[in-house]
Structures are given as structure tokens and as C-alpha cells.
């Protein structure tokens, strides 16, 4: 694994650069190879983002099919089987392949910039996370393309024993199980990397209580990932063993208890939903201060409540199981614990409002999405509290009321924030400026469409419509609400379409944005756009929370400091950059092949995959975490860049 990046560039060159004949050191800075071998956190983040947005469109397309099928009673657009595939893949795609990687995209691109680092702690491990994520996404979706197979259709939480060979004989569930397994590996590896980065690569003066809130939420989310994913890993291993080797974990005839899957899944599953929302809250906590031109109200308590949400998230999993007959004691305990989460969440809402209070609110697109977030997330949170009242939930569980609840928190919450974040950081990352008019238009269409789609679902749920039903009869009083919801989904889709068209247009043709586009407060805004490969010409020294805001108001002091540090850097041999590497990609391809072999239970393919992976890791270890140094002139242009062996 990689050594620290920083440790290298404070050192003098121990000996002359030496090239090894065995290892290929790709040096391309553009073109396909540069992307495949990149270890640059910004490029990796960008790839995460691209993949996530593509999967978001796929997941949205599946959602549209779902809505069209339910537009009228007794519809025949999809067969039952196709419909079941649709909602399974919609849920799985949206959660694991769209919102989570979009979070990872922001973690990767923004977090190191916010803490004043030149990269993450383990750049090659970061690349490995990316490619393993891609491998997992491929495995989950591969069923669409193989003749005689279907995509997974056991629901996004795949309750045993429906996932067992007896009830799901094809390979679809194997794809789901192994795909999720790979995504878990990718997420854990990435999260470990982020934790080390945030703890260890902060710029001088960046104490924990000066970290931007988004970075804090990255840290909390990473902890949630490393502590919750192992539970689903084990659960998936158990299903896989049952399917492939005939074990009895969920085999009732030998004493297996299917309920165990539910526990293990939700021990993961509930923290997972906070994995989806905490980054969103972090983004909102960046946008609101910037556009109110005020510091975040009650920073310590916002940070603390974020951590508290994360922690409490581990104590409430069984609220997804109120109807499984847990008995009064357990039900009451989980009910109360769940309600408790409303308190730290409320704290965040209150502090956001406090941030607005007395500011000069700049109503730009990111701000619109951020305000939309507060409203929508509040509604979603309230329906969450209604679920938390266990006896009431007995009527709501597995009905459209749940669908309404979680789309309010997932779309109105996570997605709105992510869309806000894209708008917010677009000028920095891409260097172009998004049209405010079109941005706002897309916001309003999305906002209206979203509410028209999902608000009626509350009524549907209370009126007894169960979820995951491919058809319903016309005599149940559900026709109108369903029809409206489908119309809403079409409006929502147009909003999304506008949003993406604008973004794509801007990406290629948009007006160049000036530096520090929004008058930002955190360090990433101190960089030119797009940020150079080495990020910071001089590692900044942090004197306050909202570090860049401070810099802007203490120009002379900072300039003096930077000049000094630049000299020191130069004395140490310039800026250290890690070499690119192909081996993470090799290792991930091995993982992909191996997982595919495991799906089909073909030992030989699995072994080939395993050995490719092992060789990848071995070569990766042997090539070492070497790098080279670059030297900059006063404008930040690279004047010299030579290979150097550590």
C-alpha cells in the first residue's frame, strides 16, 4: 500500500533517480491511459461523478417505467416479472450506483481541497476503490445483457428466503449478491482512505474544530461506511454460501432463520440511509453560509449533531422490522431510539435557519436547491417520525406511505443537496459558469414535479396501497393519486432533463467563471479553476474556521506566510507528486473476473480472477509509492518536473 504522500516531499532526495525495468510508469496526462491510470483525487472524483450521473439517469428511466405502469389500474406496459426487476434495480441503482458514488465524487474532489491537502493519503488505493466500484456496478447490471438471464428482482433489501436458490433459481440474485459485495469492498476502501486523509493530512492550523462541515460529514459518513458495510458483507456471504454451497443459514428445514437476514441487512441498512443524507447535510452547511455571507450558525453543535446522528443510526435498525413480531419490549425500545434521532436532526435544521437569519441571501441556483432541501427534508423527516411510532407504522410499513417518506428524504433531501452541490462547485471544478436562469428554471420544474409525484403517495399509502405491486384494481380509490403521481414523475423527468442539458451545455460551451466564483469561505475557493494537479502551490496555513474567508480579510499576513512556505518547499526539493499506476485497475479487473466466475460457480474463472487480482496487488506493492517532484514559478506554472525515486 502507499506510503504517505507528504512524507516524501519534505525529504531531500536520498539518492539519484533510478528506473526499474519491471514496472511500467504511465506518464500520460491526457487521453484514455491517463484516466485509467490516474491517482489524482480530482480525476477519480470526476469519474465517480460521471458514472453516478449516468446511473442516475438509468435509475430514473426505470422509475419512469414504474410510474407509467402504475399510471392507470390494470395496466399492461410491464409484466409482473419486468416490474419486479424495475423496482429492484431502481432502488439498488439509485442508492448504490447513483447517490453513494455521487457522494464519493464530492468527497474525492472537494474534501482534500477543503483541508489543504495535495491528495488523499493513499492515492492508488483510491483508484482501486473507483475501479472496484465500476466492477460492482457492472456485475449488478450484467443480467440485462446476458441471454437467458434477468437483472435482479428480489427487492433492494433482498429478504431471505426469497433470494435462495429454491425461490430464485436463475443467476440474477448471484449478480446482486456479488455486485453488492464488490461495492462494499470499494466503499470500505474509499472510506478508510478518507478517514486517514482527514485525520492526518490537514494543513497546519486546520484543527478538527476548524474543519469545514462538509469535511466533517465526510468523516462521519466514512465511519458509518466502515462500521456498517461489514454487516451486509457477512449477510451477503451467508446468502452466497446458501446459494452456492448449500449451507443452512436461511434454510428453514434445517433450522435456518430468515429473520436473521433482516437484522443483518438493516444493521447496515439504516446507517446506509444516513450515509446518503449526511454528505447532503454537509453540502447544505457549506452553501447556506456562502450565500448568506455569514458563518454557519452554531458550528460546534452542527458538527456534534452530525456525529450524534451517525452514532444513533446504529441503534435503530429494527424500525424497519416493526411488523416482524419482535415483541413489545424490543418494539418500544427501537421506537423510542428512532424518535430520538429527530432531535439532532432538528438541531441542524434550526441552525441552518439561524444561518439565514440576518444574512444577505443571494438567491442563486445552489441556494434555491438548498432551501428546497430544508423544506422537503423536513417533510420527509416528519413522515419518518410517523413511522417511528410503531403501531402507526404497522399500517404504513410496506405501503406507499413509506415510498413517500423515503423519496422525500432521498430526493428532497440527498438528491436536492447533491444537485445543489453540483451547481455550487461546478465553477471551481470545471471552470465554467452555469446560467442562473436555466438553473433556477430546472429547480422549479424539479421542485414542482417532485411534490406532484410524491405528495399524493402519502394518501395512497394511508389508503392501503402496498408497495412493490405491479398492478392494482380500479375499485380501491387509488386511481387518481396514481395518475397524478405519474404526471408528476413526467414533470420531474423534464426538470431533470433541463438540469442535465444545462450542465452539459455549460461543460462544453459555458462562460468562463472567475476565480472564487461565489465569494466562498473555505479553502477550495482559494484555488484557480479548474484546480491544478498539485492543488496548492503552497500548503496553506489555517488561522480560523472558514479559512479562506479569513485569508481574504488578512491578505498581507497570508502572502508573507505563503512566500516563506514556498521557499521551504523548494528547499525540500519541490512539490512531490505520486506516479500514476495501472495496478489498481489490474487488481480491480481481477476482482471483476473473479466475481463473474463466482456468479456462475465456475471455479476456473474465479481462480483466474483471483490470480489477476493477487498479481495486481503484488505488483502494486512492489512498485512502491514512488513519485516525482515539480517546481513552480510564482504564477504557479510548472517550470521543471523530473522523476525521482524515493
Amino acid at each position: 500500500m502507499d506510503a504517505t504522500v507528504k512524507s516524501n516531499f519534505t525529504a531531500k532526495e536520498p539518492h539519484a533517480p533510478a528506473k526499474s525495468s519491471v514496472f511500467w510508469r504511465p506518464t500520460a496526462k491526457t487521453g484514455l491511459i491517463s484516466w485509467l491510470t490516474t491517482v489524482d483525487h480530482k480525476k477519480i472524483g470526476f469519474l465517480y461523478g460521471l458514472a453516478a450521473l449516468m446511473f442516475f439517469l438509468v435509475g430514473g428511466f426505470e422509475a419512469l417505467l414504474i410510474r407509467l405502469q402504475l399510471m392507470v389500474p390494470n395496466n399492461t406496459l410491464l409484466t409482473a416479472q419486468q416490474y419486479n426487476v424495475m423496482f429492484t434495480m431502481h432502488g439498488t441503482t439509485m442508492i448504490f450506483l447513483a447517490v453513494m458514488p455521487l457522494g464519493a465524487c464530492f468527497f474525492n474532489i472537494i474534501m482534500p481541497l477543503q483541508i489543504g491537502a495535495r491528495d488523499v493519503a493513499f492515492p492508488r488505493l483510491n483508484a482501486f476503490s473507483l475501479w472496484t466500484f465500476v466492477a460492482g456496478a457492472i456485475i449488478i447490471n450484467i443480467g440485462w445483457f446476458l441471454p437467458g438471464e434477468t437483472a435482479p428482482d428480489a427487492g433492494w433489501f433482498g429478504y431471505a428466503p426469497l433470494t435462495s436458490k429454491a425461490f430464485n433459481p436463475g443467476h440474477a440474485t448471484d449478480f446482486w449478491v456479488l455486485g453488492l459485495q464488490l461495492l462494499g469492498v470499494a466503499s470500505i476502501a474509499a472510506a478508510l482512505n478518507f478517514i486517514v486523509t482527514i485525520i492526518n493530512l490537514r494543513a497546519p492550523g486546520m484543527t478538527m474544530m476548524r474543519l469545514p462541515v462538509f469535511t466533517w460529514m465526510t468523516l462521519v459518513t466514512s465511519f458509518l461506511i466502515i462500521l456498517s458495510f461489514p454487516a451486509i458483507t457477512i449477510a451477503l456471504v451467508e446468502v452466497m454460501m446458501d446459494r452456492q454451497f448449500g449451507t443452512n443459514f436461511f434454510e428453514v428445514s434445517n433450522g435456518g432463520m430468515p429473520i436473521l437476514w433482516q437484522h443483518l441487512f438493516w444493521i447496515f441498512g439504516h446507517p446506509e440511509v444516513y450515509i446518503l443524507i449526511l454528505p447532503a447535510m454537509g453540502i447544505i452547511s457549506e452553501i447556506l453560509p456562502t450565500f448568506s455571507r455569514k458563518p454557519l450558525f452554531g458550528y460546534p453543535i452542527v458538527v456534534f449533531s452530525g456525529a450524534a446522528i451517525g452514532f444513533l443510526g446504529f441503534t435503530v435498525w429494527s424500525h424497519h422490522m416493526f411488523t416482524t413480531g419482535m415483541g413489545t419490549v424490543a418494539t418500544a425500545a427501537f421506537s423510542l431510539a428512532t424518535m430520538a434521532i429527530a432531535v439532532p436532526t432538528g438541531v441542524k435544521i434550526f441552525n441552518w435557519i439561524g444561518t439565514l437569519w440576518g444574512g444577505h441571501l443571494k438567491m442563486r441556483t445552489p441556494m434555491m436547491f438548498a432551501l428546497g432541501f430544508i423544506w422537503m427534508f423536513m417533510i420527509g423527516g416528519f413522515s419518518g417520525v410517523m413511522h417511528a411510532a410503531a403501531p402507526a407504522d404497522a399500517q404504513q410499513q410496506d405501503s406507499y406511505f413509506v415510498i413517500a417518506h423515503f423519496h422525500y428524504v432521498l430526493i428532497g433531501g440527498s438528491l436536492f443537496a447533491l444537485l445543489a452541490g453540483i451547481h455550487y462547485w461546478f465553477p471551481l471544478v470545471v471552470g465554467r459558469q452555469v446560467s442562473d436562469f436555466w438553473g433556477k428554471l430546472s429547480f422549479w420544474v424539479v421542485f414542482v414535479g417532485f411534490n406532484v409525484t410524491f405528495f399524493p403517495m402519502h394518501f395512497l399509502g394511508l389508503n392501503g396501497m402496498p408497495r412493490r405491486t405491479f398492478t392494482y384494481d380500479g375499485n380501491m380509490g387509488w386511481n387518481t393519486a396514481n395518475f397524478i403521481a405519474t404526471c408528476g414523475a413526467l414533470i420531474l423527468a423534464s426538470g431533470i432533463a433541463i438540469y442535465f442539458s444545462v450542465m452539459i451545455y455549460t461543460f462544453f460551451k459555458g462562460q468562463k467563471a472567475n476565480r472564487d466564483h461565489w465569494d466562498g469561505r473555505t479553502l477550495e475557493w482559494s484555488l484557480p479553476n479548474p484546480p491544478p494537479e498539485y492543488n496548492f502551490r503552497v500548503i496553506p496555513t489555517v488561522h480560523a474556521r472558514d479559512a479562506f474567508w479569513y485569508e481574504k480579510h488578512h491578505r498581507d499576513e497570508i502572502e508573507r506566510e505563503n512566500a516563506e512556505h514556498a521557499k521551504e518547499d523548494e528547499a525540500h526539493g519541490g512539490i512531490h507528486m505520486p506516479f500514476q499506476s495501472i495496478y489498481p485497475l489490474v487488481a480491480s479487473s481481477g476482482v471483476l473476473i473473479g466475481a463473474f466466475g463466482a456468479c456462475y460457480h465456475t471455479l476456473i474463472v474465479a481462480l483466474i480472477g483471483g490470480s489477476v487480482m493477487l498479481s495486481g496487488i503484488y505488483l502494486w506493492a512492489m512498485e512502491g509509492a514512488d513519485g516525482y517532484h515539480i517546481h513552480l514559478d510564482a504564477e504557479g506554472n510548472v517550470i521543471e518536473d523530473h522523476d525521482a525515486k524515493h
Partner: protein, 125 residues
């Protein structure tokens, strides 16, 4: 437990280094002895809860010795301890909660309800 050393690690490091070999060997012996005691304990004719408590305490002691000495938490920065204990505590609490949940009457699986009924009868008789 470890912070006092972490902060002053630099100065007395040298003496500690010298003795570590001894410490490691001693601890290994201690661990072996505890393992022996554990094996002996299961044969003792005491009440079950006492034995269970003894076993749990003994393994926790072993556990702590390994992480604080072999894994040098004792000499490292406090943060490493905190980091690991976050995982340990959440995992431990989750295990405990799971065992409680499955220990409840409502969770007895149907496959062993019959067995339980037999046991109940036996107790009554």
C-alpha cells in the same frame, strides 16, 4: 490508559525499547497461563453464571493485553485507541443487542419450539 505515555513517548522511549523484549515474553507467558486457567475453569463445579463471568473476564483480559502491549496501543497516540474502540464498542453493542433480540421469547424459531416444549415439560416434572 495510553495517553500518559503517548505524550511523553519521546523521552523515556529508550528504556522502554530495551525492556520490550522482556515484556513481550512475559505477556506471552501470562496469556498462555490464562488460556490454561480458562480450560481448567470449564471443569469446575460452580454455578453457570459464575463460570461464564470468569471466562468472559479472562478473555477480556487477554484481549486487552494483546491490544495494549502486542499492538502497542499503550505506547501509541490515544487516537488509535479511540479509533479502534469506536469499532469495538459498536460491534460489541450490536452483538449484545442481537443476542438479546434473539433470546426473547418471541424469537424462538418454530423448528425448536417443539424442543422447548419438551424441556418445559421436563422442568415441570
Amino acid at each position: 490508559m495510553s495517553d500518559s505515555h503517548a505524550t511523553s513517548a519521546a523521552a523515556p522511549a529508550h528504556d522502554a525499547e530495551e525492556n520490550k523484549f522482556q515484556i513481550y515474553v512475559q505477556i506471552a507467558m501470562l496469556l498462555a497461563v490464562i488460556t490454561g486457567v480458562e480450560i481448567a475453569v470449564i471443569g469446575l463445579p460452580f454455578t453457570k453464571w459464575l463460570l461464564v463471568t470468569t471466562l468472559v473476564v479472562l478473555s477480556v483480559v487477554k484481549f486487552m493485553y494483546v491490544i495494549f502491549y502486542f499492538m502497542h496501543l499503550r505506547w501509541d497516540k490515544l487516537f488509535c485507541t479511540i479509533l479502534f474502540f469506536i469499532g469495538l464498542v459498536i460491534a460489541g453493542a450490536t452483538m449484545w443487542a442481537l443476542l438479546e433480540l434473539f433470546g426473547m421469547h418471541d424469537s424462538i424459531p418454530l423448528t425448536s419450539v417443539a424442543l422447548d416444549a419438551v424441556a418445559d415439560m421436563a422442568r415441570l416434572v
